[in-house]
Amino acid sequence: MAQILTAGTPAPEFSLNVTPDQKLSLSEMRGRPVILAFYPADWSPVCGDQMALYNEILPEFQKHGAELLGISVDGVWCHGAFAKDRHLHFPLMADFEPKGAVARAYAAYREEEGTSERALFVIDKNGVIVWSYCSPVAVNPGADGILRALEELAK
């Protein structure tokens, strides 16, 4: 597994498409915590799906005023179809061109597979990483670590 960026590192800035004609930058989120969830690909099996789980947990994240961003190397049209099918209520970012550039910036890219790791980052309101975790690709990391990090931030 990759040694992903760790707590204390300023989160690398990025600007990616969330829809075919709309971009979103990390710096736009300044002032509130951001959860950046890298995952390998859209369309993984339904019940164990990490993004579908986060969709259910979204209200818990929002209690902390946090913004959740999903990110994978899939393109915008793929993300659009996936988000629609799973009724996702948070943005999916397309790390598509140049492929995996943002994943690389966070040291969370898997060269061999050409996808990102299953890596989680919690970024504080000033844009600094306060917690990160890289899960084995086959294991959905759940949300307990994210919630603990958000609770720490609130202290």
Partner: protein
């Protein structure tokens, strides 16, 4: 390694003794097909381990994905308030392919409870806090989909076929 953050206690729906040798906790969703597949496996595990196993079921309805999961969970809790939780739990999984409002009322009648009372409870969200509390506790424990099993308080990552679970439960006992 994710650990159960809410210990098993008297509030839980349990099958077996609190001081049994092993504890298996399932976070499940009544509409989730994988939970439906796990249902007979858990039954076999209970038969296999007998009195040595304590089984606990907690609610983890994925309501965005499964439109009937929340009402099914509340229906099981409604039955639970009349000491009939497990009867409803089993019937829900055994009839999972027909899950819907009509089935919930039909099953309520089948276990000799009042469907009008159920309707009322669902409308008022009487059992919603209980289901939400299970869900929130599950999230804190690292539940990462359904079903998620905890064996003696540690999340079981991996397949949940009968043989794997038997091995995992036996291993948990030797590592203690």
């Amino acid at each position: 390694m994710s650990k159960l953050s809410v210990p098993v206690g008297s509030e839980d729906h349990r099958q077996g003794d609190l001081d049994a040798a092993f504890t298996l906790v399932e976070y499940g969703d009544y509409e989730c097909p994988s939970c439906g597949q796990a249902y007979p496996i858990v039954k076999r595990l209970q038969k296999h381990f007998g009195k040595r196993l304590l089984f606990v079921f907690r609610n983890f309805p994925l309501g965005q994905m499964h439109p009937h999961a929340e009402s099914a969970a509340e229906t099981a809790e409604f039955a639970g308030s009349h000491d009939k939780f497990w009867e409803m739990h089993d019937l829900l999984y055994e009839n999972q392919d027909r899950l819907g409002d009509r089935l919930l009322e039909e099953l309520t009648q089948k276990i000799h409870l009042d469907p009008a009372q159920l309707r009322d409870a669902l409308e008022k969200g009487e059992f919603q806090p209980r289901v939400r509390a299970d869900f929130a506790g599950g999230v804190r424990s690292g539940v990462n989909g359904t079903p998620t099993f905890f064996i003696d308080g540690i999340r079981h990552d991996g397949p949940y076929d009968f043989d794997t679970l038997v091995d995992a439960i036996e291993q948990a006992s030797t590592s203690e």
